[in-house]
């Protein structure tokens, strides 16, 4: 019996496996940030122990950071304290920090890949659920809580039960105007926000294979939004080409050796999955969410489900959700006015996302009453965008290119959508209050968000490309 890619990587990282106990799994890279690490460092202090493997731990400040005037001290006192504490903790425990002002600073799931820290075959954890992003490289990557951050800091291992395996195949070719964000929003809308809970997902099929690395990251990033522990994609020539030459990627003889290993990282043809789901890329249209969990998504031309189409049990949550959103069951979203456009987050803030938006908006102007925030995923993305003149295109369109951070994805800094306002957002969550108290979020692709920025309303981007 062959093995799945997931099992190949997991098995090679099990340090101790005892009946009745979860496996002690070795972690190759541990990313930390300011929000979920302070209590973990405190735990180490209380136990009087060091960080076990400092070289395998990397830190950055992203969740709390302002996206303008980053050279000035952070205004908000609690945010400033948390970011300062990361500096103190990493310096006391000897962990490398890409803090504010550092050329590598950025959203933790953007900088790992772009620096060549994220590699195929690795195990990667971070106190952040979107750690699944790194799975795009053929790595086992998943989010953990702060107690687990402490475990990994203390021992470079984590205790985990082996999840079940799910394969999601997307066959065929994407239609014009449909991008990787639409694929993952479509899958989640089909299987719900809990459809993959308890599973680790491998994405496969022609439509996935033909995606760039950055587009694959968008897919893996949102695995958690259907409850999956993580999602991964077998590495291939696209993966290797992306990694080669990056700052921390193996070089010379090390590269050849690593490559030979990475080429063995695929699911054997006779391996078994617990569940296999198959979708056709041709069925996917630009997607948008109407509700308050990422499973509440529809094609942009479709109508919000009517109450009659729902189970009795689903109705209270559904009604609560639509009431929050100020929307009617059975109505359509197309043409609905939007107030804010947010292009950013670990889902869609990489250079390709910005290029996609720039290509689309070049020569166009944003609608007058729409506020457009574009937040690059990292200092490197920001620098590259400026090098390519993308910042000028945005400026001419009336968009605001800000500085890197998590920003309005979760509104921990000042970038909050005001109460009652509608924001079309390339981020990953449309939960109540996610982008600010009583803010209303429509999740969509960077292309659909850019289209809404130009027209000022929910738009079928296919009519404009």
């Amino acid at each position: 019996m062959g093995k799945t890619l997931f099992d190949k990587i997991w098995d090679s990282h099990v340090v101790v496996s005892q009946a009745g106990f979860p496996d002690a799994v070795y972690i190759n890279t541990h990313f930390i940030h300011e929000v979920t690490s302070p209590q973990a460092f405190d735990g180490l202090r209380k136990r009087g122990i060091p960080v076990f493997r400092t070289a395998k731990t990397r830190a950055t400040a992203d969740h709390n950071v302002p996206t303008i005037d980053q050279h000035l001290p952070i205004k908000e006192a609690l945010s400033r304290k948390q970011v300062e504490m990361l500096t103190t903790n990493t310096s006391e425990f000897g962990v490398e920090l890409y803090g504010l002002g550092h050329p590598y600073q950025g959203i933790v799931h953007v900088i790992g890949p772009e620096l060549g820290i994220t590699l195929p075959g690795m195990t990667i954890v971070c106190g952040d659920s979107h750690t699944s992003t790194h799975g795009a490289f053929g790595a086992i990557a998943f989010g953990i809580g702060t107690s687990e951050v402490e475990q990994v800091l203390a021992t470079q291992c984590i205790l985990q039960y082996r999840p079940k395996r799910m394969k999601i195949e997307v066959n065929g070719k994407l239609k014009k105007g449909v991008v990787s964000k639409d694929i993952i929003l479509y899958i989640i809308s089909k299987i719900s926000a809990s459809g993959a809970t308890g599973y680790f997902v491998e994405y496969a099929g022609e439509a996935i294979r033909s995606l760039s690395m950055e587009a694959r990251m968008t897919i893996c990033n949102m695995s958690i939004e259907m409850g999956a522990r993580g999602g991964l994609i077998a590495p291939d020539a696209t993966t290797f080409e992306y990694i080669k030459g990056r700052e921390f990627a193996p070089k010379g003889a090390d590269w050849d050796k690593a490559l030979a290993y990475w080429e063995t990282l695929y699911t054997d043809t006779d391996a078994n999955f617990d569940v296999v789901l198959t979708f056709d890329a041709a069925d996917i249209e630009p997607m948008i969410t109407y509700g308050t969990n990422p499973g509440m998504g529809i094609g942009v031309t479709q109508h919000i489900p009517s109450l009659d189409s729902l189970d009795e049990k689903e109705k209270p949550s559904f009604k609560k959700s639509l009431e929050y959103m100020g929307l009617e069951a059975g109505s359509e979203l197309l043409g609905k006015k939007v107030d804010y456009v947010f292009i950013g987050s670990c889902t869609n803030s990489r250079i390709e996302d910005l290029r996609m938006v720039a290509d689309f908006v070049k020569g166009k102007k944003k609608a007058d009453d729409v506020v457009v925030w574009i937040v690059p995923g990292s200092k490197q993305v920001e620098a590259q965008a400026k090098k390519e003149g993308i910042d000028k295109i945005f400026e001419e369109a009336g968009f605001n290119l800000r500085q890197p951070g998590c920003s309005a994805c979760l509104g921990m800094n000042e970038d909050k959508v005001p109460a009652g306002m509608y924001c079309i957002s390339t981020s990953n969550r449309n939960f109540e209050g996610r982008q600010g108290p009583n803010a209303r979020t429509f999740l969509a692709s960077p292309l659909s968000a850019a289209a809404a920025a130009i027209t000022g309303k929910v738009t079928d981007v296919r009519e404009l490309v």
Partner: protein, 209 residues
Amino acid sequence: MKDLPRKAINMSKNFQHLVSTAVPIAIENIDTDQIIPARFLKATTRDGFGENLFRDWRFESNNEPKKDFVLNNPIYKGEILVGGKNFGCGSSREHAAWAIGDYGFKVVISSFFADIFKNNALNNFILPIQVTDEFLDKIFSAIEKDPATQLEVDLEKQSLKITASGEEAHFDINPYKKACLINGYDDIDYLLSLRKEIETYEAGREFNF
């Protein structure tokens, strides 16, 4: 087989048996952003999160309590929280478990839990009990009829009982986590006891990444 380490950091938190009334929130997909909104994640200790548990469901923007929310209704109290399917989805923030624990809940019952939340709860000595949709309905309707409905949790027997009706459900928990809860062990104690095995593993790895 290695024994669990005897040292127990959180011995005072051990858990075996609980009889309590419960607070019902019959909403599905309660995400951790609702349990504790992101703007309250700026604290650097584990304490005090209970104050902001379900902040935006519990309080108006002017900080007035919302009268129709269950936590503001004195009829409902207890150390057990009952939530709809897919409880704790979304962000991995352990602050959600800290908020639930700090508010005074020791048990959360649902018909389905998100994975990360479940781990976070267990790591904080909060017991997530997964029951069938049918049994969850029974609990919700029992509480709806009588908010003083008592539930009995027996971790050793892995059973949950609605006291008045005597209806009982068995729940699953992995044996390791059960032992941790009953004895007040935590994962780090166990992992630290594996130091030698970890170093041996590292020495045998072909790649240094």
